[in-house]
């Protein structure tokens, strides 16, 4: 069996480092090359995995690739997907799918027209504590589900993440899509209505973009809930943030803290105490699933439409905040 050949398109999003790490540990996978518009960054990672560096996307797409992984700035997902579609069998695109619904739709359409499989990177579906929750829900242990309280807190990521042109939005866009994707997946449902309080520069004066988001939503299956997307973890905090889900039903409560499997490490060098995660990374399952999709020539387990629905909710949250009232989703 020949190797699955993967091209990495951009390391602007730090998740690329983790994806590369897990890909390079997998049997039968070859990193065919790395493209990055940042020469230093691209060259560094190319040297690290002993793969060629390409200054132009086109040059890398010529390398007889099976798939590409796109971890560019959010706004550049669309041009990179449009360029790759038809030249590879499958694309793994970092979340959010795009910064606008128009871009997202164009990506989905082009991939369909060219028979290219488009998968959105939602690694939380592959995190074992989340999978355990999904199994419990599928077994129906909670009985009727009432409510779900969730958080996806983070530290303020800086760099292009706070540049509206490249990121498309701040904390709300960055951290709405993961949890919303999980809820859609848990119950095969859609968000029906969202209300949001969005805060600009509340925690980071002068940031120039939203850094606080509280979403209150109702799902089509009748479950209501909230999601806190705020970049409210300071530099001095022991970890980057969290994904927490409290699902309440008639028989009780299931609480998941997806990143709670930690060592507590106190370091004089760091000048602080940190939580070092030893849990199984969802990124590992995500890239394995992507490679399996390429190998088996099957449909992606997380589709472009899934990415588009999650983006819709994030954009509706901004809309709600501007209008001061709940917003109904179109579906």
């Amino acid at each position: 069996m020949s190797d699955i050949r993967i091209g990495m398109l951009s390391f602007a999003h730090m998740h690329a480092v983790s994806y590369l790490h897990f890909l390079s540990q997998m049997e039968g996978v070859a990193i065919a090359g790395i493209y990055d518009d940042d020469y230093d960054r691209g060259g560094r990672f190319a040297a690290q995995c002993k793969a060629p560096y390409f200054r132009r996307v086109d040059g890398l797409l010529d390398q007889d690739l099976d798939g590409v992984i796109i971890c560019s700035e959010n706004a550049l997902h669309a041009p990179l997907v449009l360029e790759s579609a038809g030249r590879v069998q499958g694309i793994l695109c970092e979340k959010p799918i795009a910064t606008t619904l128009e871009d997202g739709q164009a990506m989905i359409d082009r991939c369909r027209e060219t028979n290219t499989k488009l998968q959105i990177a939602f690694p939380m579906r592959f995190a074992p504590p989340v999978i355990e929750l999904k199994q419990q829900l599928d077994m129906g242990v909670l009985g009727e589900i009432y409510s779900v309280k969730t958080t996806n807190h983070g530290s303020m990521p800086g760099r292009w993440f706070v540049d509206h042109k490249l990121a498309g939005g701040g904390a709300v866009l960055d951290h709405t899509v993961h949890v919303i994707d999980l809820l859609r997946w848990f119950w095969d449902t859609e968000v029906e209505e969202v209300y949001a309080e969005v805060g600009h520069e509340l925690l980071h004066p002068g940031l120039g973009i939203d850094d606080v988001g509280l979403l209150s939503f109702r799902l089509a299956n009748g479950v209501f809930g909230t999601l806190d997307t705020s970049w409210s973890r300071p530099e001095s905090y022991p970890t980057w943030g969290d994904v927490k889900l409290d699902v309440l039903g008639e028989n009780g409560l299931i609480s998941v803290d997806a990143f709670e499997q930690n060592l507590q490490v106190s370091s004089e060098e760091d000048g602080k105490t940190s939580w070092v995660n030893w849990g199984s990374s969802g990124d590992e399952g995500l890239v394995a699933d992507f490679v399996d999709m390429l190998r088996a020539d099957r449909e992606p387990s997380v589709s472009g439409e899934d990415g588009q629905r999650a983006l819709e909710v994030a954009l509706a949250a901004y809309d709600s905040s501007r209008r001061g009232e709940p917003v109904a989703l179109p579906n």
């Binding site: 509340l202 509280l214 001061g324």
Partner: protein, 337 residues
Amino acid sequence: MRRVGIVGAGGISRTHADRWNQMPGVELAGFYDIIEDAAQRAVQRSGGKAFSSMDELFDAVDYVDVCTPGTAHIGPVVAALEAGLPTVCEKPLANSVADCERIVEVAERTGTPLFVAMVVRFFPQFAKAKEVLDSGAIGAPGVIRTVRSGSFPDSGAGWRKGLAITSYYADFAQSGGVLLDLCIHDIDYQRWCFGEIERVFARGMMFAGKEPKDHALLTVRFANGAVGHIEGSWSYPRGRFATRIEIAGSGGLIEWDSRTRPPVEVALEQEDGSLASSGSSPTAPQHDPYYAELAHFVRCVEANEPFLVSPYDGLMAVKISRAAIESLEKGKAVTIR
């Protein structure tokens, strides 16, 4: 020696009576309840005498402690204030905004001290979090999240079973469900920490027809632009009560969770080989929040100083709780006027 009389011999009166009985310089004169039996039972467990009328009680005391259900606060509170007796009123100040406004008006006109027992401000961890926030250690207010979630309050303890208050809680039209009974604590605490609340948006089960279960998730916007989130529940499984504080500022974060490991854990192997474990987080008696709030009341009255919680604070907490209920009914955000 100051004498205190309790009006309303239901659930919370026992908690208060225990504290009054511990307090130096204060004597529990007794109870008045419209149900004579209830007053008699309270006397048997807590001491003092059962008064046959509110006036008889007023004549015998220096302070009045009103522990009736929220719907029945206005009568005894107004009467006590008119009689010039410094008064403790259990939360909520009243169940309707109109009753609260009337009470505040009487308190202002008579100048009689009225303390609204918003006990959460006296919980040491909540008080300390506010102190750290005020110290500037975490910068300017950003996001405040609090949780107050447990099971429906019907059988936490045997003595509580069958009390009239249980059916009162389950009748949301009376009690206001978790939004008025439980979330009011968090509304008051968050308002104390971050200032005036501008609008609220609520989702919850109050009108879902699942009484006595209730559950609510609230988002609030403060006048200074900061935001808040409140979870209140009577739907958690029994024994899983939880409270939480999380305050994020421009320069840091404060967190506390009642479910983190307690300072005292007892693990005992049973004869059948199973494990019996329990945990506790003891504090000095004077830092018990119910003792602290009542001692604060006495101290302020004696020193003629303002209370930590004003009648206006009590009114605003009810106003915001009511706005949250309105938000739930209308499916819209409600601006606080």
